[in-house]
């Protein structure tokens, strides 16, 4: 790996007594798609704001393209495309005016921006909406426009904070497709998410965060390999009986997790486990065999689920 694009050591952010980011270390390489996975309040957004040079770290070192955001804030922001969690499009302007003026904020010339607008509108699939005021767009369209807008300055790093929160499944898939294209073009992506499927789809490598700390770091596949079994058997006995079944089931699985509505049994072969349970005369109300996911990794690492 050549010199990392982003290099953080002991990165810490406190607000009064509250420690939002607690001494984390990570490196992001050029062209990599790097994820921060964790529940709300894990410190992901705080970390993103520090990288985005709109928040000052309390301690630790951080360099982005070799520059320190505390010294070179505006210069670092010129390298970044920022897609915040809450849309902040200019609601008084049209779709193409939004892209235009955003480019002007970076000081780019009108001719430079006007050449880029058609290409960005096409990328965001908003050609037909170019003269529409932003207020009239759907949630998915707004998010795509926010991404298109952030690309006007040709950023080296695109930062996406919870990019698909609040979108319906179809809009999410369109958005993922667009992000894949950017990844293929070599744009470095930084993504925070509390959706494990999003992290699995988009991230080459990710850190699992909880309460400001890094719990694990690796590729999604390797994290699953390291922290979970190949498959998971989910069984439900109804809320009254779940608890009494736990002790009966515990010896049968490699590991067991009890959630309020279901029991998760970890095994290399889920079907086989289900058969051996049935052989003991245990018949759950419902059962489901699935592959392990990052959700299971998170549960293993923290004892809690991602979306509560």
């Amino acid at each position: 790996m050549s010199e990392p694009l982003i290099h953080a050591r002991g990165l810490t952010k406190t607000y009064g007594d509250f420690v939002a980011v607690d001494g984390i270390d990570f490196d992001v390489a050029k062209g990599e798609s790097f994820g921060f996975l964790g529940p709300n309040g894990a410190g992901k957004s705080s970390t993103m704001r520090i990288i985005g040079a709109t928040s000052v770290r309390t301690s630790g070192t951080l360099t982005i393209l070799g520059k320190d955001p505390e010294v070179n804030g505006p210069q670092i922001r010129a390298h970044l495309g920022v897609v915040p969690q809450q849309d902040n499009l200019d609601v008084e302007l049209t779709v193409s005016e939004n892209i235009f003026i955003y480019g002007r904020y970076f000081g780019l010339s009108s001719s430079f921006i006007n050449k880029k607008i058609p290409e960005l509108l096409e990328f965001a699939q908003l050609e037909e909406k170019k003269d529409v005021k932003v207020q009239a767009l759907s949630g998915g369209m707004k998010r795509r426009l926010t991404i298109a807008r952030s690309l006007v300055s040709e950023p080296d790093i695109l930062m996406l904070d919870e990019p698909t929160t609040g979108l319906d499944p179809q809009a999410r898939h369109i958005l993922w497709d667009r992000l894949f294209r950017l990844k293929e073009q070599g744009v470095t992506l930084l993504i925070t998410t509390h959706y494990m499927d999003e992290a699995e789809q988009l991230c080459d490598r990710l850190i699992v965060m909880d309460k400001g700390k890094i719990m694990a770091e690796n590729s999604p596949a390797q994290l699953i390999k390291d922290y979970s079994t190949k498959e998971v058997l989910e069984v439900r006995f109804g809320s009254d009986r779940n608890q009494e079944m736990v002790e009966v089931l515990r010896p049968l699985a490699e590991r067991i997790e009890v959630l309020p509505d279901r029991i998760l049994l970890y095994a290399e072969d889920g079907e086989q486990l289900l058969e051996s349970i049935a052989a003991k005369g245990i018949h759950p109300n419902t059962s489901l065999v699935r592959r392990s996911s990052l959700e299971d990794v998170f549960l293993r690492l923290t004892g809690r689920t991602l979306v509560e």
């Binding site: 505006p74 922001r77 010129a78 200019d90 008084e92 904020y105 970076f106 000081g107």
Partner: protein
């Protein structure tokens, strides 16, 4: 790995205040112009109309009862007497409209400043751009008002042209101060504070009658208020009365402008660079 945007951002590197100022407040002005082009003209016209209506109704209505007024420069009509005060008020209204409600909306509801400050712009660019826009609006209101006053035959000398730069100074002061206070406001409720303050200031600042109707302590309080300072500045500029007094008025606004800019930048920095 140096894109256009990065090269542009490096231009002010190492210069004074490079973390807060990218040298591009005009882009914030441009944004407001694009938005303004498609905005409701009625809101623009109504702000301008208010002092004109006062001039017509009070100047010619009450003026009928009052008759002419003796001033150091000779006898003038009541309408001519109140014109400078209304001009200063017009500049204030124009500047305050943008620097209060519009800024509040961009700060708290549309999150526009979040978007601006995620680019290579700095908080001083945003503050200067917004204040410049507000003062332009104040300046345009004041210019239009001066044209009407002149068309009504209420000015007799070319000094009246100086009313326009004087009104722009007044607008700058109010825009700068108004934005600073707005940046600290957290709710619509608190925003009403401006109007609790602005209306009495307008009625008691001596736009319609001489301050001598008040006792000495009352006059002292009113003279410390920005609208009174603005009225004096415009009156003196319009009558070509230059001396120590007009310098005091101008200095008052210079302080207001600087204090407003300082606190606006500080507050934006605290809000968005925390």
């Amino acid at each position: 790995m140096t894109t256009e945007a990065v090269q542009l951002s490096e231009r002010r590197l190492g210069k004074f205040g490079d973390k807060y100022f990218a040298g591009r407040p005009q882009q914030v002005l441009l944004r407001n112009w694009i938005s303004f082009k498609s905005s409701a003209w009625i809101a623009v016209v109504s702000g301008f109309l208010e002092p004109v209506l006062y001039l017509l109704s009070f100047g010619y209505g009450i003026g009928e009862l009052v008759g002419s007024i003796a001033t150091p420069g000779g006898e003038i009509s009541y309408a001519a007497y109140i014109a400078p005060g209304l001009l200063a008020t017009s500049a204030m209204n124009g500047a305050m409209l943008d620097s209060t409600w519009n800024v509040f909306f961009k700060l708290n509801e549309s999150r526009l400043y979040n978007a601006m400050l995620a680019t290579s712009l700095g908080p001083l660019d945003v503050a200067l751009g917004e204040i410049a826009w507000a003062l332009m609006r104040g300046g345009i209101y004041a210019t239009a008002f001066t044209v009407i006053v002149a068309a009504l035959g209420l000015v007799t000398t070319w000094w009246a042209l100086l009313a326009i730069p004087a009104a722009i100074i007044v607008a700058f002061g109010f825009a700068s101060f108004g934005m600073a206070i707005t940046s600290y406001m957290k709710s619509h409720h608190q925003m009403n504070f401006f109007y609790i303050f602005l209306l009495p200031m307008f009625l008691f600042s001596g736009a319609f009658y001489p301050l001598t109707v008040f006792p000495g302590w009352g006059q002292a309080i009113i003279k410390a208020l920005p609208l009174r300072q603005g009225i004096e500045l415009v009156t003196r500029a319009m009558s070509g009365e230059f001396g120590i007094h007009i310098l005091v008025n101008i200095s008052y606004f210079m302080v207001m402008i600087c204090v407003g800019l300082f606190f606006t930048t500080k507050r934006l920095n605290a809000l968005f660079m925390k």
